[in-house]
């Protein structure tokens, strides 16, 4: 996580922090899906707040843009 405003903005726009859906293997008991808590423990709370808020703002921007494009 960069403190530089522009760098951080570019990091957030890359969207590589979005969690991909986990593949749950029902057949094997050996391979269990990774514990979600472990992943969250790596990130600091400010980072996760930024990511969530950024996604929400992106979604609202997208909704706004679609609303503009819609023709009645």
């Amino acid at each position: 996580m960069s403190l530089d405003y522009v760098k951080r903005l570019k990091e957030l726009r890359r969207l590589d922090y979005i969690e991909k859906p986990m593949e749950v293997n029902d057949k094997s008991l050996v391979k269990k899906p990774k514990d979600k808590k472990e992943k969250d423990a790596e990130k600091n709370p400010m980072q996760s707040f930024q990511e969530k808020a950024f996604l929400q703002i992106m979604l609202s921007n997208d909704r706004l843009k679609r609303g503009q494009d819609d023709t009645v």
Partner: protein, 180 residues
């Protein structure tokens, strides 16, 4: 900013302590609340019109965003740390609004002038290397060697055309003024 365009040392001690808003604890310490406050402030017609006006006037979104956050810090709304956290989020919000309005704006993220200057310097260094390689004669030039000096032909001709020097005269001899 010039050398003297800054506060005199000790000028902060001339006002009572905690007189300024930024000297007191900030009003909001939670980044989420600070972001909500900013979004509420920006979510009205006048604010959007102002943003549109400034971006159309040539101000980039980054400067605009930094100005918004700095004014919030100066008025004691939140601290600089909160500004650092919410800056990219507010930037994205502004960009989204401007996109929705179909405005032509400069984000201010990619500094085009700096990029052009860098490209120019790189090209200059390549050109210098190139010209160093194509120098045809690298023999040292003896400046005192008169045979190697190239006198231009025009100069030679003018030298030939100059009139011959006058007759030699004695030191005490008066110049001949002609017959009166």
């Amino acid at each position: 900013m010039t050398q003297f365009d800054r506060p005199v040392p000790g000028s902060s001690l001339t006002t009572p302590p905690k007189a300024q808003a930024y000297e007191r604890p900030p009003e909001i310490t939670n980044p989420k609340e600070a972001l909500e406050r900013h979004l509420d402030n920006l979510d009205n017609r006048d604010a959007i019109e102002d943003i549109l006006f400034f971006t159309q006037s040539g101000m980039d979104v980054k400067s605009l965003n930094e100005g918004l956050l700095r004014s919030a810090v100066a008025t004691g709304l939140h601290s600089i740390d909160i500004s650092l956290i919410i800056a990219p989020l507010l930037h994205e919000y502004l960009v989204g609004r401007l996109d929705a309005l179909g405005a032509d704006y400069n984000e201010g993220i990619d500094n085009l002038k700096a990029k052009e200057a860098l490209r120019f310097n790189r090209n200059l260094s390549i050109a210098k290397r190139f010209t160093d390689n194509i120098k045809p004669n690298r023999e040292p030039i003896d400046e005192m060697d008169l045979e190697k000096t190239d006198t231009p032909t025009e100069l030679m001709e003018t030298v030939e055309e100059t009139p011959p020097p006058a007759k030699e005269m004695g030191l005490m001899q008066r110049p001949d003024r002609g017959v009166m």
